[in-house]
């Protein structure tokens, strides 16, 4: 069932027209990978969908026009994970996760209602960060920190999660770990949109792939179709080794064309 849709979406950054006439329709329970070359507009599209930057066109979330929702209502429907898992002050991991309840009015991590506290615990359990809940995020390893960031996003308990390169700069094991957890969240009924440069991870974990090129939607569909040989050659400008392993698509970037 369609949860999030955009029709004729256009967006500009300053004087630069970044997104051109994008129309898409995404369903709950899906993991959607948003791929494309650097500068294609992936992050801009993610921000526009969350209503973090102004855009033209129509975005609808769960039947409501995004433009009709207040900032507070938007913040409850979209959980947004920016690139880099930035945390500016050395707060305990628990307090960072608790910020996920901010949209629900829980602005003080020391005074959470039982419901909010339960949501925080659920999120921390889901990504296995309870053990270092009291440690400062700045003292955690990259993998641990990305899981804390993920827990913060899960704690919002929003119907849509928008994650910008959640697996970047992690080792292969942690990349797979993060994607697997997002896969699990999607299986539980959440719409998860992930920006990634890793076509292998996209092919392996996504239900649906959006390929963005110069601000336009170049192709979309199931991974194997969306990332067809023609698209790979024209948009990504590489050839790839393609196979199937354990009934999942395998795409390994091979050479530039």
């Amino acid at each position: 069932m369609t949860l999030l849709s955009a029709t004729h979406l256009n967006a500009s950054l300053g004087s630069r027209h970044v997104l051109h006439d994008i129309s898409l329709s995404l369903s709950s329970g899906h993991l959607v990978a948003l791929v494309g070359p650097n500068g294609a507009g992936k992050t801009t599209l993610l921000r526009a969908l969350a209503g973090l930057i102004p855009s033209r066109g129509d975005i609808r979330i769960g039947g409501d026009a995004l433009s009709s929702l207040s900032l507070r209502e938007r913040s409850r429907r979209f959980a947004y994970l920016p690139q880099g898992h930035m945390v500016h002050w050395p707060l305990p991991a628990r307090d960072i996760v608790a910020l996920g309840r901010y949209p629900h009015g829980a602005t003080d991590p020391a005074r959470l209602s039982p419901d909010d506290m339960a949501a925080v615990l659920r999120a921390m359990q889901a990504v296995d960060v309870i053990a270092f809940g009291d440690r400062r995020v700045t003292e955690l390893s990259g993998g641990e920190r990305s899981r804390v960031a993920l827990a913060r996003v899960l704690a919002v308990e929003a119907p849509v999660i928008l994650a910008d390169e959640p697996a970047a700069s992690l080792d292969p094991r942690h990349q797979i770990d993060v994607m697997q957890r997002l896969r699990g969240v999607a299986d539980a009924g959440v719409l998860v949109v992930v920006v990634t440069h890793d076509l292998g991870l996209a092919a392996r974990f996504a239900d649906h792939v959006l390929v963005l090129s110069e601000g336009r939607l170049a192709s979309q569909g199931a991974p194997v179709e969306a990332l067809s040989e023609a698209v790979m050659a024209e948009v990504v400008r590489i050839s790839a080794y393609r196979a199937e392993y354990q009934r999942e698509a395998v795409i390994v970037p091979w050479a530039d064309v």
Binding site: L52, L81, P82, V87, L91, L99, P103, T107, D108
Partner: protein
């Protein structure tokens, strides 16, 4: 870890913060009593308390309630708003080196006040003074945030703060340069130094409304600073209107610093030092730092104002000079400590 462990850990931290805040409040009360007791006539804390509540001799009552109380109120309020402004700016910019004086706000406010006097628009005890100071402070903080932009890199912030405070200083010097009246030059020198001497309740009435308004605005934004820990984008996705927050903080800082500077001149570095003293005790949560930083600011300025009265010297040391003499080396120490981050270019 369970819900109980969670609640327990939160309670332990909360109790520690409460204890620190209570201790700090007690320190401020003690400093207030000392500040009221010190001067040409020394009064014991008990005499001070008696005089405050209408007991004791008439002389003691006049000294405490009419001569020293305005000075002490101003030291408390101005130290408080400077500490609070520093904590709020550090929260907004996610940057431990942010403070009103580094960004040229007091210097700009002093220029606004000086200009009004030099042009003969108002006398030293009118409301035109704080209004001009507030407008100039608002302009300087606004310009700084406009130049530094959304990302607020440390280097750009400090360079533009330096530029703005130098510009405000140059503009003040120009006014001094152009004024033919020697009294105006004297008046300006007084603003550059910063002092609490001989302040009356008239000064309190001029400054206090603006300081209170600024403090209320800054305190009302506390939880937004906490959300900003995750950066502007994430904070906005959590429902914080970052553009509005920025405007609130600029207004709050301008009201507070402008009101303060209008009656005391520039008193620097309290806003930088106070939050740093509190972080080891309170933690790094920018929302929780606001009130303790204000208390620490009050304690610092009260202590500095007591010190200038106690330190033996042939001419009076101005309190603004003392805070800068202590504050600048502290700033250098912070730069040393943050060198790695500064070298990296981006905070």
């Amino acid at each position: 870890m369970s819900v109980q462990d969670f609640a327990l850990a939160a309670e332990v931290a909360a109790r520690r913060r409460l204890g620190a805040t209570v201790a700090l409040t007690a320190l401020v009360v003690l400093l207030v009593l000392i500040s009221l007791g010190i001067g040409p006539v020394r009064l014991s804390p008990l005499t001070v308390i008696a005089a405050l509540f209408g007991g004791g001799s008439d002389v003691a009552q006049v000294i405490v309630r009419e001569i020293r109380l305005p000075r002490t109120i101003l030291a408390f309020a101005i130290g408080g708003i400077l500490g609070l402004s520093g904590a709020a700016l550090q929260g907004l910019l996610r940057n431990p080196l942010a403070s009103p004086s580094l960004f040229g706000a007091p210097q700009a406010a002093a220029f606004g006040a000086v200009l009004v006097i030099a042009l003969g628009l108002a006398d030293v005890r009118s409301f035109a003074l704080p209004v001009a100071a507030i407008i100039a402070a608002f302009g300087s903080v606004f310009a700084l945030l406009a130049i530094a932009g959304r990302t607020a890199g440390l280097l750009i912030l400090i360079l533009s703060g330096l530029a703005i405070s130098s510009f405000a200083g140059a503009a003040t010097a120009l006014v001094m340069n152009l004024s033919s009246n020697p009294f105006v030059a004297l008046e300006i020198a007084f603003w550059l130094l910063g002092s609490l001497e001989d302040r009356s309740f008239q000064h309190v009435m001029i400054a206090l409304p603006f300081i209170v308004a600024g403090a209320v605005i800054l305190l009302s934004q506390a939880s937004s600073f906490r959300a900003l820990t995750l950066g502007e984008e994430a904070a906005q996705s959590l429902g914080v209107d970052v553009a509005r927050l920025r405007l609130f903080v600029i207004s709050g800082v301008a009201l507070g610093v402008g009101g303060a500077v209008a009656v005391t001149g520039t008193i620097g570095f309290i806003g930088l030092v106070a939050p740093h003293l509190m972080r080891p005790v309170i933690g790094h949560d920018p929302a929780r730092l606001l009130v303790p930083s204000a208390l620490a600011g009050s304690a610092l300025l009260l202590a500095a104002d007591i010190a200038v009265r106690v330190i033996p010297s042939t001419s009076d040391i101005k309190v603004g000079v003392l805070t800068s003499i202590i504050g600048v080396p502290f700033f250098l120490y912070l730069i040393m400590r943050e060198r790695r981050v500064l070298g990296g270019g981006v905070a």
